[in-house]
């Protein structure tokens, strides 16, 4: 038995801190929450309001633009059509909206942080253990305070998703920029390029495959969060899986699970295609 007098718990302190946060800054968090919510609602409304064939055509067009190959494009279209056949189109649109917003927020946070971390070894030394914590901490642990601050629904689901999904993007952006050939950077410096010219003209384009791999990871991790997110009120395919579990309806759960996998495949193909260096696509 571990001696009682040596035990020490941070639980009370943390609880007090979160309570204080909720009391004093609750309104602020709500305002932020409402702003994010209005974006999601608008996007979700547009996706669900648009005719299914229009959405399908747009996604297939993006897939064609990304891959420039006939077979993958047709397969992507067919898979999405299959989701509609299973009667899950509307749910998929809800999940898609959630995913798009979560991924966009992740990119907005992850890419700049990755760039900064590639510049400074000190920042990286601080960031690395933080990212490790974000990735390994069970998501329910931060779901509770996020719930207390933002209430039930889509916004906490998205924030929880971002916390879980953003680390690989930061890491891979950092890695991609650090891996740019040292002599290329030296040459660019020797010709008098400014910091921005280096970043936009050389580092980001050369790091693009790595960054896109990060975006890909982020979307995959975000998708794996949809079921957990549905427990705090996010609608969509995750909700279907949850209902399947709760009512022991294996078939229904499986269908929704398949739809999530299909969404993952579609995202994966499109993002990977954009991550390939352009001159190789051309030749």
């Amino acid at each position: 038995m571990f001696p009682e007098r040596l035990t020490f718990s941070i639980a009370d302190a943390v609880n007090a801190w979160v309570d204080a946060l909720v009391t004093h800054y609750g309104d602020l968090f709500r305002q932020f929450s409402d702003a994010v919510l209005s974006i999601i609602v608008a996007l979700e409304g547009a996706l669900r309001g648009a005719p299914w064939w229009l959405v399908l055509i747009v996604i297939v067009a993006i897939a064609w633009h990304a891959t420039r190959r006939v077979v993958p494009t047709i397969v992507i279209g067919a898979l999405l059509f299959l989701v509609g056949v299973m009667g899950l189109w509307d749910k998929m649109m809800q999940t898609l909206a959630l995913m798009l917003v979560a991924t966009s927020i992740s990119v907005l946070i992850g890419v700049p942080l990755g760039i900064l971390s590639a510049r400074s070894d000190r920042l990286r030394a601080v960031l690395t253990p933080l990212l490790d914590i974000m990735q390994t901490m069970p998501s329910f642990v931060y779901l509770i305070p996020v719930l207390m601050l933002f209430g039930l629904g889509k916004v906490p689901a998205i924030l929880a998703t971002v916390i879980y999904a953003v680390p690989p993007l930061i890491r891979l952006t950092d890695l991609g920029i650090r891996q740019v050939d040292r002599e290329v950077m030296e040459a660019v410096t020797a010709f008098g390029a400014s910091r921005w010219q280096k970043l936009l003209g050389v580092q980001l384009p050369l790091a693009l495959p790595s960054i896109m791999a990060g975006v890909n990871q982020t979307t995959m991790m975000a998708l794996s969060m949809v079921v957990i997110a549905s427990m705090i009120g996010a609608r969509g395919l995750g909700e279907e899986v949850l209902i399947g579990i709760q009512t022991l309806d294996v078939g229904r759960g499986l269908q929704a699970g398949l739809a999530i996998v299909i969404l993952a495949v579609v995202f994966d193909r499109i993002i990977q295609a954009y991550g390939r260096p352009r001159q190789e696509v051309r030749s």
Binding site: D181, E183, V184, E186, A187, V188, T189, A190, F191, G192, A193, S194, Q197, V202, P205, L206, P277, R278, Q279, S283
Partner: protein, 269 residues
């Protein structure tokens, strides 16, 4: 006034550079300094002058500090102490903006493993220096096309570096440096990665271009044949110290010490 004046430059890599400096000034060797402070001596109390319009070759074995030294001339590396003047201006006093301007307009560089941008075409690579300093597209293109022709790469404007052979890539590197029309060109082992035939060809091309252009070229090499072929004057470096400076004839007739003598004898065989 010489074009480039280097005065008593030291470059020490490592955390205990101050201690290492003291030891060096007491006359200790590079190996001693490394053993007692863990610092690597790159350049050791080196002074030299490079005149306008000459090809000045800096020669030495690998590890002799020649690549480190040449990177001081455009401040890719800053010295631990000493002064460097280009056209009479102390380049170590430049702030970030002045330095950028200096690199854009006064000095350009060719690299051993080319340093080309893999995601840009030959045309865009050659125009890079011009684009960076904000010249308009039409000018960039025109000048780039001109220099691509001058180095004999016409027809490859839209190829990417990975589609070219080593010799062709270095022609792109050379055209990129020439296109900026800077007075000074640094060439860090520019031809060392090329096979002997292509290398001789590139040397001829450089000499032919120099006859028209009269640039100040600082050429780094580890090969005495190349040094003698190209250089108006040759500086020989050992362990970051200058051993001898002179015309190719000086070096061949009166080697300053054993180190230089060994280079010369190996050539005679």
């Amino acid at each position: 006034m010489s074009r480039v004046e280097v005065e008593r430059v030291y470059k020490i890599f490592g955390r205990r550079a101050d201690e290492a400096m003291k030891l060096l000034q007491e006359g200790r060797s590079k190996a001693d300094v490394l053993a007692s402070t863990g610092c690597v001596v790159g350049v050791n109390d080196l002074s030299l002058r490079i005149e306008a319009g000459e090809i000045f070759v800096i020669m030495g074995l690998s590890g002799s500090g020649k690549s480190t030294l040449v990177r001081h001339f455009n401040r890719l590396i800053d010295p631990t102490s000493g002064t460097i003047r280009v056209d009479g201006r102390d380049i170590l006093q430049f702030d970030r903006r002045t330095l950028r301007d200096f690199r854009r307009k006064t000095i350009s560089m060719v690299f051993q493993s080319f340093g080309l941008l893999p995601h840009k075409s030959v045309l865009d690579n050659v125009a890079y220096g011009l684009k960076v300093r904000g010249e308009n597209r039409a000018d960039c293109r025109e000048r780039a096309v001109h220099w691509i022709e001058a180095v004999g790469l016409t027809g490859f404007e839209h190829a990417y570096p990975h589609q070219l052979s080593g010799g062709m890539r270095q022609r792109v590197g050379l055209a990129r440096a020439l296109a900026t029309d800077t007075d000074i060109i640094l060439m860090d082992e520019a031809f060392s990665a090329l096979d002997p035939l292509i290398r001789a060809e590139m040397q001829d091309q450089l000499l032919a271009l120099q006859q028209q252009l009269h640039k100040t070229i600082v050429f780094i090499t580890h090969d005495l044949d190349e040094a003698i072929r190209l250089g108006n004057r040759i500086a020989i470096l050992k362990d970051g110290e200058l051993v001898q400076v002179g015309t190719p004839d000086d070096i061949l007739q009166n080697p300053a010490d054993d180190y230089v003598e060994r280079f010369v004898q190996r050539r005679a065989k």
